[in-house]
Structure formats: C-alpha cells, structure tokens
Symmetry: C2
Subunit: 203 residues, 2 copies
DNA sequence: TGTACATCAGTGAACGCGCGTTCACTGATGTAC
DNA sequence: TGTACATCAGTGAACGCGCGTTCACTGATGTAC
C-alpha cells in the first residue's frame, strides 16, 4: 500500500525542505519566516498552522538536514567495501562541488559553529546528528579493520568539517581547492585509503 | 617616547574589543549596536562618531580578533624549538579551557562558517587572517624539518578548527573532551610531536 | 593664574523598517444525504 | 448524481518590538589671551 500524504503534510514538508536549505546558507538566525514562506509559495500568515513557533521549525529543519546526511552516508557506505566507500565519501564531501553547494551541504559544516546558540530542542537534534554521522564513519573504519576506529572517526570528522569550513571561508578559489585537495590526500593516506596503498596491498 | 592614545582612540578601542568578544560568542549577525555600546559603557547614539556604519565595525572587529591570534602564535612559536612550540600550541588550542572560552577564542573556529556572509571588507580581512594563521603553522613545520609543510599546515589547521567546532557543538561534556583529546593525540602523532616519539628520537 | 570660548565625544529621543506572531476571514475540498 | 454544509489550509492586515541609523543637543576638556 502506498502511503499517501495529505495536502497539509506535503505543504509542511515543503516548508521544512526550504528551511533546511535556507538555514545551511544563511544560518539558523538568518532565515526569516516571511521569506521562507515565500520560497515555499505561501504567505507568512499560514506558518502557524504548521509550527508552534519559529524554534519549532528550526528543530524540524535540523532533523531534515540530517536525513540528507543519513542518505548520503548510506549511499556511500552501505553494501560496498568499506575502504572503497570511505574513499568515495571523502572525495565527495571534500569536493569543490560540495564547497559551492551550500543548500544541500553537510549541516555540521554549515552550523556547528552556531550550534551552541540554537534553541534547546534543535541543539539536541544537532547533537544526535553529529553522533550519528560519527557513528557511521566509526562503523566503516571498524569494518575495514582499522585500528582504533573510536579515535580515528572523530579525527576524520574533525578534519572533514574543518577543511570544508576553511575552504568556504577563504576568498580565493585556488586556495579553497587546495585546502580540500590537501585534506582529501592527507585523510586517505592516514586511513590507508590511497590508491597506491590499495595497489600495494593487492600485489 | 610613549605613544599616547587620545581619549577618543581609547574609547574606540574599547568598542572594538567588546565587538570582537561579542562576535565570537554570538556571531557577526548576533551582535547589536545598542547592546555593544552598553557593554562598552556608552549609549548607542555615540556609535557613529567612531564608525561609518555597522559593517565598518565588523571589519575592525575581525582585525582585532586576528591580532589576538597573532599574539597567540607569537607566544607559542617565537624563539622556541618549533616542535615544542607546535606541541604546546596544539594542546592549548584544543584544550577544554579554549572550548569553553568563546570570547577570546580563535576567530576561525568561531566565524569561518559564516565568513561567506560577512560584508566584503570584513571577509577580505578574515581571508587574510586565515592565510596568516596557516602561514605561521607552515613556517613552524618547515623549521622543524617536516616534509611538505605546505600541505601539512592546511591539514593541521583544518583538524584544529574542525575539532574545536565539533567539541563546542556537542552537548555532552564527555564527548566534547574526547573529541579534543583525540585530535590533540592524532595531530601530534601525525606531525611527529608525541612525547614518546621525541623520547625515541633523543635516545 | 584666571576667564572666555571653541571643540567635540557622548547623550537620548526619534525615524523607518523588518522581524515574529496573531487573528478574522476566504474559498477550495470532502462528506452527508 | 446533485445539493447543502462543515472543515480547515491558507490569506493578508495588523500588532508590538528591536534593529540600524540620524540628529539636535549637552557638558567636559583644552586652548587663547
């Protein structure tokens, strides 16, 4: 049986989708209710038929962002060789494309520096999202037989988030690309994922 | 001859100091002119005797923050063995104390994720600040005879910034401390700065 | 040294504006018979 | 199938509020003589 969503449910989902996009680009405080509703093709007054207040929306938008992260992690890590998956994930996460794409990018790289200012409920979901993301990395590292996946997963996530944040902050395209390239190489080398290392291992 | 600052210059410096603190905690968009002037012991109307507009202040506050960074880098890296300096810098940057101290913390860890929204002039200074910070790390790595200081300095800065941002975003003190501890250890090991490595080298 | 005056850092009321939120209303949709 | 009615998602005017900014004014400070 196909699960039908009511008209209202679909409208609400559209608002949350737009909020998740806008927050990644303009920050949680930089997204206004009126502008958001306009992007969803509605007028601002209807907002409160869907959410108790703005904080309620922010909380839902955070969850929505981490659903994208969950999909990303599944797409790269589920049902494939964990080393291949991690290598591809690192390349995608630290790509120039990801750097330029704010709307659909990683919520941790977009919002972790303002997480401490999020309303309580939203911050709680953000926290859970970080733990989930790190858990997926940890499991992949463990599956590929890495030593100390507990530590390496935190270190990996730290450099991924920091490198993408730095690359986006820098004003020079060349420098931005270099920052990402360096971290891709350093992380793959550190985790034993370099093509050369793989070739050597298979010989 | 002692350089005397006029009363107005000292007042202006006080406003910029407070702005630099407030922006690191509340973000560049979360600092209001009236609240800021109140913190500096003044009323809001006087603001425009010192700055052309709010953007002008933000630009000056960014510069002010990176002056703190410059002082920090000098304190840890100037006139000491570069490996000792880097080790101490990493321990300080990724300390629980630094994690809790927003007001005087690293501007890159506080604002890089909103740098792309800064007014043009401020963004330019932020960019310069990042290059300066990275340059200091690069020089220290080069001085200690590290291979590829160009790449390692970017990678180091990325993990430092990412780790501190993550540790601040997480809601659990234990997890936050662990994130920092892991990156301290991983970075020192990667750069050949671990006490054990140092001991081994001196034997 | 004392008086008169110019300077100007800082005050505080006021402005237009956009924010989040409320609410009386509209009009399309689905159900009852 | 057609009509009458209830439901309720969405509209748009209005609200109080805090924002950045302006400006006429104050009053402390420093200089001229």
């Amino acid at each position: 049986m196909i699960e039908k969503k009511s008209h209202k449910e679909r409208t609400r989902a559209r608002i949350v989708d737009e909020a998740a996009k806008a927050m990644r680009e303009h920050g949680s405080e930089g997204m206004g209710v009126a502008a958001l509703m306009g992007r969803a093709g509605l007028t601002h007054g209807g907002f409160y038929a869907h959410f108790s207040d703005r904080d309620d929306l922010v909380t839902n938008a955070i969850d929505r962002m981490f659903e994208d992260s969950r999909d990303l992690l599944r797409r790269y890590l589920d049902g494939v060789d964990p080393a291949d998956g991690l290598r591809a994930l690192i390349d995608a996460y630290l790509s120039d494309r990801a750097r330029r794409t704010f709307e659909r990018g990683c919520p941790i790289a977009a919002l972790s520096q303002e997480a401490h200012r999020l309303p309580d409920a939203a911050r709680e979901r953000f926290h859970s999202g970080i733990l989930f993301f790190r858990g997926a990395l940890r499991n992949a590292l463990e599956a590929m037989g890495s030593h100390d996946p507990d530590a390496l997963s935190w270190s990996l996530l730290s450099e991924m988030v920091g490198s993408l944040s730095l690359a986006r902050a820098v004003r020079d395209e060349g420098a931005a690309s270099e920052i990402l390239r360096v971290s891709r190489e350093q992380l793959k080398r550190k985790l034993g994922l370099t093509p050369s290392a793989a070739k050597l291992a298979s010989k």
